[in-house]
Amino acid sequence: MNFPDDLKYTRDHEWARVQGNRVTVGITDFAQDALGDVVYVELPEVGDVVKKGETFGVVESTKAVSDLFAPVSGKVVEVNAPLVDAPETVNEDPYEEGWMIVIESTDAKELAELLDGAAYRKFVEEEQE
């Protein structure tokens, strides 16, 4: 399973690509694999304010519903709208084309609380045991 080192991760299985205060968010390879075929994605609107640890959307596979949790607090400045019509992208390319939103982070301290690739991999392995 692939957990790129240039990304940060949450224990809710989101990834975050941090570029300055712009944080791109999606779900991890582990999450998409566990969900199975994703058939529905519900995302917030540009301008919505999200809070770290709170839900910002929903992803559903044919068999399960899963909330999406914001890795950091801030304002949603971009939404991957094409995902709504092509939810399978989340399975096919979770880290690139399958990105979900971009958050303009308002609290730099929160970034430090995210896991790096190695720590997330360890977390996933422990969770599977």
């Binding site: 199975g36 529905y40 068999k63």
Partner: protein
């Protein structure tokens, strides 16, 4: 610990993802639900359904005894034919929905749902009425070969003349050297077969079918695809769309209730319900707002809860968000609208004719 079918090791070796279902460790998917679903609709899929139970009625009283327990009419089918129907309690509540295979008037096999094996056997044994009742649930492996290419895959492996085997008929015959009962039945809405064989030969049969099916595009398929396939054709699932507190009439299964055949358990209660009017009806719906309806979600009308979603999914074949829901009769007509409470958000829904998908 969850029970395992004789094919458990084969599933694990083939990379299946296993989940617990009705007390069984079963494959939920192999390559992926959508891939398997599409294979069954366009080519073929192979399912291990050995978790299903089998109870056999034998003896001179077998047909008569079963017909008293069963809502459909076994007097209307011939030897070598199968029939779908319900077993009900006196109050009309469904004990289980089953397929009964009439081998002869003195030898009938009842195929029951996995989760109801013990309950059903107790119920059937209690109402044996002189028939000899045997629980053979652990004596059979059951494989479902489903899809438009099913006959082309199976025919080279058997001497049975499949072209002559009509829907809901069955015949005994060897498949790849394995003695089987070959039934033209299934739970997917496609043409296909269900094969019953001895547990010790299950792996041999599975491997022969997988091998023979490869050139035709057959894939092994799991319970996930089985559920989306059955819902597209609005086949009911026990535990979702019916239970001990639901009558066949409420579940939209009036077509398997034969009031004119003579007495059977639940007949009086259902006749009364028919006269008084049904309290609720199971209908097919599509969501006209985004989202997916799930089992247990509330059905709302004018902001009030008036019903409940029984089954729901995103249909892989017709692409829309489909489901079955219990609603008041006033909302059951085609074109009626209501809302489904999707985690606090009301999503508009419209009653449509079922099935959602019809094979060409």
């Amino acid at each position: 610990m969850a029970k395992r079918t004789p094919l458990y090791d084969v599933h694990v070796q083939s990379g299946a993802r296993m989940v617990e279902f009705a007390g069984w460790d079963m494959p939920v998917q192999y390559s992926g639900l959508l891939d398997e679903h599409e294979a069954v609709r366009t080519r073929a899929g192979l399912f291990d359904v050995s978790h299903m139970g089998e109870v056999v009625f034998r003896g001179p009283r077998a047909l008569e005894a079963l017909n008293r327990i069963f809502t459909n009419d076994l007097g209307r089918v011939v030897d070598g034919q199968a029939q779908y129907g319900c077993m009900c309690r006196e109050n009309g509540g469904i004990v289980d929905d089953v397929v009964i295979y009439r081998r002869s008037a003195e030898d009938l096999l009842v195929c029951v749902n996995a989760g109801n094996r013990e309950k059903d056997f107790a119920w059937l044994a209690d109402h044996a009425a002189g028939a000899q009742v045997t629980n053979e649930s652990d004596d059979w492996v059951q494989l479902a070969l489903q899809g438009p290419r099913a006959q082309a895959i199976l025919q080279p492996l058997t001497g049975a003349e499949l072209a002559k085997l009509k829907t809901f008929h069955f015949v005994d015959g060897d498949v790849a050297g394995v003695p089987c009962t070959i039934a033209r039945t299934g739970y997917t809405g496609e043409d296909g077969f269900e094969l019953f064989c001895r547990p010790a030969l299950g792996v041999k049969l599975w491997k022969a079918l997988v091998e023979a099916g490869k050139p035709e595009g057959l894939v092994p398929a799991g319970l996930g695809a089985r559920d989306t396939l059955r819902l597209e054709v609005a086949y009911r699932l026990y535990g979702n769309d019916m239970d001990d507190d639901t009558t066949p009439l409420e579940a939209g299964l009036g077509w398997v209730v034969k009031f004119d055949k003579g007495d059977f358990i639940g007949r009086d209660a259902m006749l009364r319900q028919k006269t008084a009017g049904l309290p609720r009806k199971l209908v097919g719906f599509v969501l006209t707002d985004p989202g997916i309806a799930r089992h247990g979600y509330d059905v709302l009308h004018d902001g009030r809860k008036v019903g409940v979603v029984a089954s729901g999914t995103k249909s892989p074949t017709v692409k829309s968000s489909i489901g079955l829901a219990f609603v008041p009769p006033a909302l059951a007509a085609e074109g009626s609208t209501f809302a489904v409470d999707i985690r606090g958000r009301p999503a508009a829904a419209q009653v449509v004719k079922t099935p959602f998908y019809v094979r060409k």
